[in-house]
């Protein structure tokens, strides 16, 4: 099932050897999909120990967990824990993706939960239960994650034999039945934040547990807008059309998903992408980061009450949007990738205009960032706020600026270089503050790094073709594709089918890994900072409409409109709880 990978090019053999040394014959199979991607198959009962060893002893980070209904192929379900293994603190190791695979028999659809040993797996295992009906044994959280609470029991959308992608079952209940965590104690109040006002922003329901003004704990219910894209991709689209769907995963960083998907398929099929195309992809990824970081910097202004700054960041951001329009033909949903390369070359006059726009952006954003940092309350409002402690970050595998703000210099562009990042190296920006300020400053610095990346790529890109054609579609090949999106690592696991379609496509957006640690960032802060903290992870969904505040002492729930929470965050007077 795998492309032949030359022995000497393999990266990460040491990790497989270490696993063999400890688990011996439990390592049933070892298959290489690419020089830095290996999948090891283990028996179901040793799954938690193997993942734990890779995660905590070999310096692994949980990148994704893909579940695949392989019953039509081999009679079993399979679960793939994707870890980026990077060597531990004592010993810098090679950087490779080690995927731990275990098969789950259909007559006993359960697997031992990894979460008690590696907390980062929590969302993935809840999702495996929702979408495939595979029960994680030993996972304390028994609530649904992705499926709505009014979805019928026993209907698992991603199993191959359950439902057509068109099918919309009748809701089974009228009420929202999600069981938020219970926090009890003297003086604790619940603050629900959300769930819905789709017209303005994206939906999500937060529940903050407060004591007076202080947040004791937080819980949230998301996935109100789960669109079933994975099901759609395997059912209706051809594998070469999925790139256009991947573009639409996110309205901000869609191109990152597009590249992640394309590269996963290209790796699975062993397609060489022309060098010029790799440079073009790199340029467009950085152009996307430009507008995305400007958006977040603008929001940072907004949440600390500096709305003029917000307006000016958005005015300047327009230049980045123009640049995208010029280079791709569209402000968003660039749609320039095909399997094998890109569809549009960068011509001389486009290059000239881009360089000119970059110069203007650099000058104007420098001024704006200085103004933002000189605003008297920016540091006061963000320093030591929303702390993500190093250990929590280590346990939950967050990604992107959220992780780098807690002192880990992890950037997929450097750890697992893709496209042209091995030829045009990028400087990783990390800060030790663990707070909202660090995360904001990282975005500001990364913005300038991205400008310089685009300039260097435009300089260094070689002449030549931009698309490889005439490759062969081979059934049941699979591989990973990964991109450092503006919010962190996006990772796609794709397996091709035998019908010009994709058999299974697991796409994981960066915010998916960032949400679980948000709870820890909110704890210990005041509710006037809640909106600021949520915005600091720059979630793909960014706003929530209402907040429920639960007072633990008075046992009373108050519903506060989100606009009111946001206003309180900006003005910090007239608390909505009084």
């Amino acid at each position: 099932m795998t492309v032949a990978i030359a022995e000497r090019t393999k990266v990460g053999k040491q990790y497989v050897e270490a696993l063999r040394a400890r688990f011996g014959s439990s390592i049933l199979d070892e298959a290489w999909q690419a020089p830095e991607q290996v999948t090891v198959t283990v028996p179901l009962n040793s799954l938690p120990e193997v993942v734990e060893m890779l995660y905590y002893q070999q310096g692994g980070w949980l990148a994704s967990v893909a579940v695949n209904d392989e019953r039509p192929l081999n009679g079993q379900f399979a679960i793939y824990y994707v870890l980026s293994v990077e060597g531990n603190e004592n010993e810098a190791g090679e950087k490779a993706y080690v995927v731990v695979r275990a098969q789950i028999p259909p007559h006993q659809p359960e697997f031992p939960s990894v979460t008690p040993k590696v907390p980062a797996a929590i969302w993935y295992e809840r999702e495996a239960r929702d979408m495939f009906g595979l029960q994680p044994v030993g996972l304390p959280d028994e609530r649904r994650l992705v499926l709505p609470d009014d979805w019928p029991e026993g209907l698992y959308p991603l199993r191959k034999d359950t439902m057509d992608y068109h099918y919309r079952p009748e809701p089974t209940t009228e009420n929202e039945t999600y069981d938020f965590i219970k926090v009890e104690g003297e003086g604790i109040v619940q603050v629900p934040l959300g769930p819905l006002h789709i017209t303005s922003d994206e939906p999500g329901h937060f529940r903050l547990y407060v004591e007076g003004e202080h947040i004791v704990d937080a819980d949230y219910r998301l996935f109100y807008v789960h669109r079933g894209m994975e099901k759609l991709a395997e059912s209706r689209l051809n594998y070469d059309q999925v790139t256009f769907l991947a573009d639409r995963i996110c309205g901000i960083c869609g191109y990152a998903h597009n590249v992640a998907y394309s590269t996963s398929v290209e790796r699975a099929l062993g397609i060489e992408v022309p060098e010029r195309a790799q440079y073009i992809r790199t340029i467009l990824l950085e152009v996307e980061r430009l507008h995305s970081h400007l958006l977040n910097l603008g929001l940072a202004c907004h949440f600390v009450g500096f709305d003029t700054g917000f307006m000016h960041f958005f005015r300047v951001r327009e230049k980045a949007m123009k640049m995208a329009e010029l280079l791709t033909g569209s402000r968003k949903t660039y749609g320039v990738n095909l399997i094998g390369g890109v569809r549009r070359d960068i011509l001389k006059e486009q290059r000239t205009t881009t360089l000119q726009l970059l110069g203007e952006l650099r000058a104007q954003v420098t001024d704006l960032v200085n103004m933002l940092l000189e605003t008297p309350n920016i540091v006061q409002r963000t320093q030591n706020i929303g702390r993500l402690e190093r250990q929590v970050a280590r346990d939950y595998s967050p990604v992107g600026p959220t992780l780098r703000g807690s002192g880990f210099a992890r950037d997929i562009r450097v750890i697992h270089p893709y496209c042209a990042y091995d030829r045009v190296p990028v400087t990783v920006i990390a800060k030790e503050g663990c707070d909202v300020l660090s995360r904001t400053l990282i975005r500001a610095e990364e913005f300038f790094e991205s400008i310089s990346m685009v300039e260097r790529c435009l300089d260094a890109m070689p002449e030549g073709p931009v698309l490889t054609e005439g490759f062969t579609y081979k059934p049941y090949q699979f591989a990973l594709g990964y991109v450092e999106a503006p919010r962190g690592e996006d990772i796609h696991w794709s397996m091709l089918g035998d019908n010009q379609k994709i058999y299974r496509w697991k796409c994981r957006a960066s915010s998916y890994n960032n949400w679980p640690s948000l709870r820890y960032m909110l704890r210990g802060n005041t509710i006037s900072d809640a909106a600021l903290i949520v915005a600091s992870i720059d979630p793909c969904y960014s706003c929530t409409e209402r907040v429920t505040v639960v007072d633990v002492r008075k046992k009373k729930a108050t519903i506060v409109p989100y606009k009111e929470m946001e206003r309180y965050c900006r003005e910090r007077k007239d608390s909505p709880l009084k």
Partner: protein, 177 residues
């Protein structure tokens, strides 16, 4: 604060007067697909490539009509249709103002006549597509006699071709023996 005020004064009005004045898009912008029915031959290449099924082809074998249709409500402006069209009948225009008062106005349709098979009389392929293939052969320098043969072959439906070919192959096979 002073710097900010200076910046605000320097920038002046940032809001565009749109829709009272038109907005220029960048060259190469991917807007509404423009269909040239004269060039189109209803070959369905675009309908196969279209990721969101905005383009579709329906065949009416009774009437002998093949209908090309575009539903703008589904179009994602990716431009795959433009790329795969063999005759250059579809191009993406810079037009981005697409609001309509009536949903039906989002549909665009064109009907093409189908050719009937010389042998069985069943409709099987667009007339224009057959002409297109014939012209290609002509331009590739096929001699007169070859062209006549080619036309005879082109105007037979795949089903009849199969039925016709089997006895021919059997005969050839026997001759070889």
């Amino acid at each position: 604060m002073l710097k900010l005020i200076k910046e605000v004064l320097k920038v002046g009005e940032a809001t565009l007067p749109y829709p009272f004045k038109p907005v220029e898009v960048m060259p190469g912008f991917r807007g509404k697909p423009h269909h040239d029915p004269e060039r189109c031959m209803a070959c369905a290449a675009c309908a196969i490539a279209c990721p969101p099924n905005a383009l579709s082809i329906t065949t009416d074998l009774d009437q002998g009509i093949q209908t090309w249709s575009l539903f703008m409500g589904r179009c994602i402006y990716c431009g795959r249709c433009e790329e795969v069209c063999p005759t250059g009948a579809i191009t993406l225009s810079p037009d981005f103002e697409l609001a309509v008062m009536n949903k039906d106005d989002l549909y665009e349709r064109a009907d093409y006549k189908l050719a009937a098979c010389r042998r069985c009389g069943m409709y099987f392929a667009p007339l224009k597509e057959i002409e297109y293939v014939f012209t290609l052969l002509q331009q590739s320098g096929l001699p007169e006699e070859g062209l006549a043969n080619a036309r005879a072959l082109l105007e037979v439906c795949p089903e009849c071709k199969r039925k016709n070919d089997v006895p021919k192959m059997v005969r050839l096979y026997q001759e070889e023996d």
